[in-house]
Amino acid sequence: MASRARLFKEYKEVQRDRGQDSDIQLLCDETNIYRWTALIKGPTDTPYQEGVFQLAINVPEQYPLVPPQVRFVTKIFHPNVHFKTGEICLDILKTAWSPAWTLQSVCRAVIALLAHPEADSPLNCDCGNLLRSGDNRGYQSMALMYTRLAAVASVPNSSA
């Protein structure tokens, strides 16, 4: 199966690069290569910088022709992440997907999204409205509060 072979290559690549990209930790489910977990560090100079966020990655059979399903497990206040489901609004996970992306580079794109919220295509409308109305301070403090509540210190255990 093509997807399995590809994922195995990605797995080896992740093992080889271990420690190089300290902002991303990609872990493959020991029993199922189609299920991965990622721990990403919030980017600096953002309200997420103190946090470590867990992503659940579900890889479909037709991968890499179709994108992996990625969602936040850790609660996060961000305009492009659904507050309840953790679903992410990111073009490369939908229409702009191509097999040139990898699970690793998808994680990097998610980190970039944290640093560059797109208020015009919100999944979290409350958050989007704060940004669109120019209330940057309100957005920052809400995002920081949820980062401290959900993504700091508690991560290693509560992540499962």
């Binding site: 290559k9 022709l65 659904h82 609004c89 097999p99 040139a100 295509s121």
Partner: protein, 325 residues
Amino acid sequence: MNSDGGGASEEDRPRDDEILAFHHAIRAADAEKLEFVGDKEPLSVLAAEYEAGNPVFRAKVEKLGQTYVAIRRARGDGNCFFRSFMFSYLEHILETRDETEVKRIQKNIEQSKKALIELGYQEFTFEDFLSIFVEQLDSVLPGRESSVDIDQLVEKCRDRYISDYVVMFFRFVTSAEIRKRAEFFEPFILGLSNMNVQQFCKTSVEPMGEESDHVHITALSDALGVPVRVVYLDRSVGADGKNTDVNHHDFLPPDCPTVEMPPVVLLYRPGHYDILYTREVQNLAPVPRVEEPQDLPELKGLQEAKETPVKSIQDANSTQEAIAA
């Protein structure tokens, strides 16, 4: 992009995987209507299609019959140019048994691979796609373990895995060629969209299902060194308002020996490509090729590449304008 404008409740909105599943279901339903590549049909089916249609179309379809004899449809899923190119080229090799041509294209494939790596693509992201295309190339030459006949080729080109993987390989090659010659392609891309070269490749070339334009055709034809003819069937008429000659444009890669009829001939109707067959297709002899000298300085090739296709794209542009007019 999702945008509920703040009005609709978030719960009403289908989840992404539901949207994707729905999207796949629509495509699957489409698949039952038409294979990735259809059967070879006489050109008269085209005439039947326009029987009650626009008189300019009818006149052009009739003229089309002077040069072309048959059509093979491709599924209209946004990949039709690449699927048509794939079948048309492989069928050409199957008929001509032209080993020299296969060796030549393999060299170009190696060049594309190098370009991709130089552009920062990780090899494991494209190597599976590349090897599926190379397998197909091998299978259309005679005397191989995997050699196929035309029926088997049709079957393979209708296989989702093989067809999608080859399409994806072409998308990688096209993207690499555009990015490698970004300066050359930039003005044409600006003419099509508001994107820069990199964004264009990321959003309009690399993702499956993104439709092809003359930029894609030029890039793929140049990168693989395969001439492509596109015959334009549209409602445009000549300057006198009467001329219903069918326009065509030949995409000729640099350093390509002149060919009477490119190996890949496609019929373009606004938004869609199908495969066309010329009258003499059965007794077409292998196109003699001038072997490129091995030590040709790369710079020379590049400079020529910069000059020749400028004209060709402008030609294509004027045809596009004609369509729009």
